[in-house]
């Protein structure tokens, strides 16, 4: 356990410089967005008051009230968040390939460590997961600050709901990355961890069998996805369902655990027997 956590510290340290740089960029861009957009809105309000002498209801009618959704869906928030998402997708591959193609063949040193290679695998997966959760938590943190900025700049008559629930729902389809309950938290990040292990296994297949490994890797990903969504596929093909929704949830949990187990076993085998340095 201790060895495993050391590996996680080690992996995270290697990624931290770029990671914190991204978070910093995200912070300043988004905070700037909150200032610029809320001030811009109040500029409009003042313009209407000075030029036309309108009262509050008339202004609300003319330009609408300011909704945090406007900022959230603007490039000020979306661009840095998308950058982080793209970075994390890329880093999921980079975390392995760097060890082969970096300045030193670092994977050689990793394999020489007196720990099971399964730890190497899991520590990399946990690092990725931790970074993803960190980004989401950081996004929430920025939203808290953004909320204060809006509340400070825009009077209550001109702004929409500043409840965190309403603000987060402004992310539309990206809302799925914000778990509203602890069950959702474990479902979302558990599922994410399993998906990471599947992608890692595919990478290790490629590292083990090279060109053929790419095909094996793709087949592995497709096979895993088919396994995970097999209950839904069955329902679509047979055009009927067989279980209650709660039962379906537990079947999915079981399939995810099976998938994780298979990925870890296959990866351990590859790391111990097949991977070339």
């Amino acid at each position: 356990m201790r060895k495993g956590s050391r590996l996680i510290f080690f992996e995270f340290n290697r990624a931290s410089r770029m990671y914190f740089t991204l978070l910093t960029v995200m912070f300043f861009t988004q905070i700037l967005g909150f200032f610029v957009m809320s001030k811009g809105y109040m500029g409009q309000v003042e313009h209407y008051i000075r030029t036309y002498g309108l009262d509050i209801p008339a202004i609300q009618e003319a330009i609408g009230i300011f909704s945090p959704e406007q900022i959230i869906q603007s490039p000020w928030v979306m661009a840095p968040l998308s950058l982080c998402i793209v970075y994390m997708i890329a880093y999921t591959f980079f975390i392995w390939y760097r060890d082969w193609y970096g300045a030193n063949v670092f994977i050689y040193r990793l394999f020489m460590l007196p720990v099971s290679r399964t730890y190497v695998f899991i520590s990399k997966a946990v690092t990725i997961l931790l970074m993803v959760i960190g980004i989401i938590a950081f996004q929430l943190f920025v939203l808290y600050i953004g909320k204060w900025i809006i509340a400070g700049n825009i009077p209550i008559d001109f702004r929409g709901s500043l409840s965190m629930l309403d603000i987060v729902m402004g992310f539309n389809y990206l809302t799925i990355f914000f778990p509203f309950t602890t069950v959702q938290f474990f479902t979302l990040f558990g599922g994410m961890f399993i998906f990471i292990t599947i992608v890692f296994t595919a990478i290790l297949l490629e590292r083990s069998f090279h060109l053929k490994g790419i095909i094996y890797g793709l087949m592995y990903i497709i096979g895993s996805i088919v396994l995970l969504i097999s209950p839904s596929i069955t329902e679509i093909i047979l055009q009927r369902s067989f279980v209650y929704p709660a039962e379906m949830f537990w079947i999915q949990v079981g399939l995810f655990l099976i998938s994780a187990y298979i990925s870890i076993r296959v990866s351990t085998y590859l790391l111990e027997k097949k991977v070339h340095v």
Binding site: F12, A137, G160, T181, A246, E247
Partner: protein, 408 residues
């Protein structure tokens, strides 16, 4: 430890932010209004069996809630695992799930797709088939039939006769009676004159044989200018013997260039001149009777209940008030409407007929904490036996609104 401050710091940061987030989430839901029922008249026990379902609109988002006269529960407060089975608990679905848990496993949560006789429970839906040369082919009824005594389920695909496979078929209603299932469908196709022709048909399916016993076209009309509209009366009382005997069809004849409301429950502008006829189709004799509805019935009137050979109950809005009309089917008498004793102008309403009680919930246009009113009619005597006000624990803000949309 200190040299690993980055990782440890991130973990601590994540823990703090998510803890804060969850604490705030639960606190936010606590700022939503909660409700109590203040009885103004009658015995509160009459309303104990019901649950109100509604929406709380914050101006930007909508939050679903239920109120069972003891506690208000928002969807966010419902345990996640329970929520998987859906937020709305339809009394009829719960009853079927309790009685036939194995049969109901994997079935859709749509009350209108089920019917029950003393022998069978049936779930039916349409299989739209495929298109060949722009013509629909292989349209069928998909049935899932439970023999109640044997507890055996059979699945059937019953092809709709080729001659009936017109351009559009919709399944309107179904009634299981003994060993028969009556499926009412609406068909539309283009006539030779380029007009759309509609017809209503009843397919009688023998459930023990899994075959269509008879097909009857019970009503046909050409829809030239949308002044005529036929609907199967929305009678939701599952225990009604109406299903065994007679089906009611509502025919609305509206003056030209006026719109017809799609949903009888929605009513706003009642000024158009509309006359109604009620067509009763008897499953036993396969005969049709047409009745002229009392002249007090307006566009937007909603059927509440009808038991065979008994009175038809309708509800409608009339100048910001609600009125219930009780009418003996076929009678020439012009019954006086029974006014729902509301205290505030009606914004919208919903009804539920349970046992011998008619529950009417009225969303009021009342200020402050008064969200709406509940009135209960004891149908056999026509007496109002209960009245109560639904009160919010706090006044609603200008942009907030609470709408109760169903009673279960």
């Amino acid at each position: 430890m200190i040299k690993h401050w980055k990782t440890i710091g991130l973990v601590v940061f994540v823990s703090i932010i998510f803890s804060l987030f969850y604490v705030q989430m639960s606190r936010e839901v606590e700022t939503y209004p909660t409700f109590t029922l203040e009885t103004t008249e009658g015995n509160v026990e009459v309303v104990h069996p019901i649950t109100l379902y509604g929406d709380f609109h914050t101006g930007e988002h909508t939050h679903l809630f239920s109120y069972n006269l003891q506690e208000t529960m928002y969807v966010q407060q419902m345990p996640s695992l329970e929520r998987l089975n859906g937020f709305y608990k339809y009394a009829e679905m719960e009853r079927l799930e309790q009685l036939y848990p194995a049969y109901m496993r994997g079935k859709v949560d749509d009350v209108s797709m089920y019917t029950e006789s003393d022998l069978y429970v049936v779930q039916a839906d349409m299989d739209w088939g495929t298109y060949k040369n722009d013509e629909p082919v292989n349209m069928a009824f998909n049935l899932s039939v439970l023999h109640k005594e044997l507890q055996k389920e059979a699945r059937m695909t019953i092809e709709i006769p080729k001659r009936d496979q017109s351009s559009f078929i919709s399944l309107e209603k179904m009634y299981a009676v003994g060993e028969d299932l009556h499926i009412v469908t609406s068909h539309s196709h283009d006539s030779d004159h380029g007009l759309t022709v509609f017809d209503l048909r009843v397919y009688t399916i023998q459930l023990d044989r899994g075959k269509i016993g008879s097909t009857d076209v019970i009503y046909t009309w050409e829809q030239e200018d949308f002044t005529e509209d036929i609907r199967v009366a929305p009678i939701e009382n599952h225990d009604s013997i109406l299903a065994d005997q007679r089906m009611l069809l509502l025919k609305a004849i509206v003056e030209e260039d006026t719109d017809i409301e799609n949903d009888l429950q929605i009513s706003k502008n009642q000024t158009e001149k509309v006359s109604y006829e009620l067509i009763a189709y008897d499953f036993r004799t396969k005969s049709l009777d047409t009745f002229k509805l009392p002249s007090q019935v307006k566009d937007g009137a909603e059927f509440i209940s009808y038991e065979d050979n008994s009175d038809v109950f309708l509800i409608q809005e009339n100048q910001e008030k609600l009125e219930v009309i009780e009418w003996q089917l076929g009678s020439d008498e012009q019954p006086g409407p029974l006014m729902v004793p509301t205290n505030n102008p009606v914004h919208s309403y919903t009804t539920s007929y349970q046992g011998e009680y008619l529950y009417i919930y009225v969303n009021s246009k009342a200020p402050n904490k008064n969200i709406g009113e509940i009135h209960v009619l004891y149908v056999p005597t026509g007496e109002w036996v209960y009245a109560g006000n639904l009160m919010s624990n706090r006044p609603l803000k200008d942009e907030e609104e609470v709408i109760i949309h169903s009673i279960e």
